[in-house]
């Protein structure tokens, strides 16, 4: 925990004083809420699930922080909790339902592992809206296995280094790289489809004055 920027707040929490503990949790939440939420959202693919994950994660921080004695940083520990809870939550949803659920309506969910959206170009002259673009990219992420998804989210969305990802997922840098390679192979054709569709849909706007 040496050199951990959150050390002071963690120590404040460990004083045991309920008021200071509450303050410390508030500070940690303020600092990490959005990044942690975004991570949970991208791994679960659902807004409400991400909410549950973040709630559970910070409650776990409250309960388990007194036993936090690892050499890793607090942020790595928090992300580990978030990633594990996200995978677990999503797995539970998949187990409980064999049919596609529309939980929040924001982004398609894949409760049974089926394809939620068709990534092929279905209408070349249609411009991709931001929402649709997001939905398709999220669908591509959703197609990754639970082992690969966190690596991609942490690397490309959270911009974490290999070392940090290894620390969060408790694996070696070599494992992180190998998982990323597998994720690249799986994602490349899917994202190519999205990019191609986006590019094709942009032409009518540029050429003929657009819609």
């Amino acid at each position: 925990m040496k050199g951990d920027p959150d050390l002071a707040v963690v120590r404040e929490f460990l004083t045991g004083d309920p008021e200071r503990k509450r303050d410390a949790i508030g500070k940690l939440y303020e600092k990490y809420q959005d990044r942690a939420f975004n991570t949970a959202y991208r791994i679960t693919g659902d807004f409400n699930l991400a909410k549950d994950v973040i709630q559970d994660s910070f409650v776990a921080v409250w309960e388990k922080l007194p036993g936090f004695r690892t050499r890793s940083k607090f942020s790595s520990w928090l992300y580990r909790i978030v990633v594990n809870y996200s995978i677990e939550r999503r797995r539970r949803v998949l187990r409980n339902s064999r049919h596609a659920l529309e939980m929040s309506g924001d982004v398609a969910v894949l409760p049974d592992g089926s394809e939620p959206v068709d990534l092929r170009v279905d209408a070349p002259d249609r411009r991709l809206s931001n929402r649709e673009f997001e939905r398709k990219v999220q669908a591509a992420i959703d197609k990754l296995s639970p082992r690969l998804r966190p690596v991609v989210v942490l690397r490309y969305i959270e911009d974490r280094s290999y070392k940090e990802i290894g620390e969060i997922l408790r694996c070696s840098i070599g494992t992180v790289k190998s998982r990323l390679n597998r994720a690249h192979a799986a994602l490349e054709p899917l994202l190519h489809g999205v990019v191609r569709e986006e590019r094709e849909s942009a032409f009518p706007r540029m050429g003929g004055g657009g819609e």
């Binding site: 949790i25 939420f37 975004n38 709630q55 910070f58 931001n130 990323l180 690249h184 994602l187 994202l191």
Partner: protein, 163 residues
Amino acid sequence: MSNVNIGCDWVREQLEDDLGRSLAVEAARDLDEHVAHCEACRRVRARQEMFARVFHELPRVSAPPDLLVQIEAEIERRASTPRRFRVLRFAAPIAATAIAATFLAIFVLHRARPDHVVLLREDVVCTSFADYELRDRLYKDNPFFSDTDPADAYYRILKEGWK
């Protein structure tokens, strides 16, 4: 011609890391030169650029404003209820041990006939010759036979047998 000083492995590592953006000017130039002449590395760069662009364009989703309130409420709820359970967590093994110890004590004392006082042979009060005879018979096989009245014990043994 591809830069012979650097290999594809190094180039791909840089590209996959951060598209070579953190490299010093000269190393970056070497990388560019290599990529310009290496079809495989060019594909890796194109792929990494696509990933970077696509994921960069993905909007960041923020936590809902009321989430902290919900978290605090949940912590409060757990902090109030588990306190009882936390007491139980320590109390339960203590209670179980106490119960087990009680049963063990009852068992041991039952075996030792706790309702009787353990008397040594010499302590048994004998008022007649018959008492002495009875006492000697009782203590013959059981040096710690317990009873205050050898006659009562004798009749009980006759009735119930040795236990």
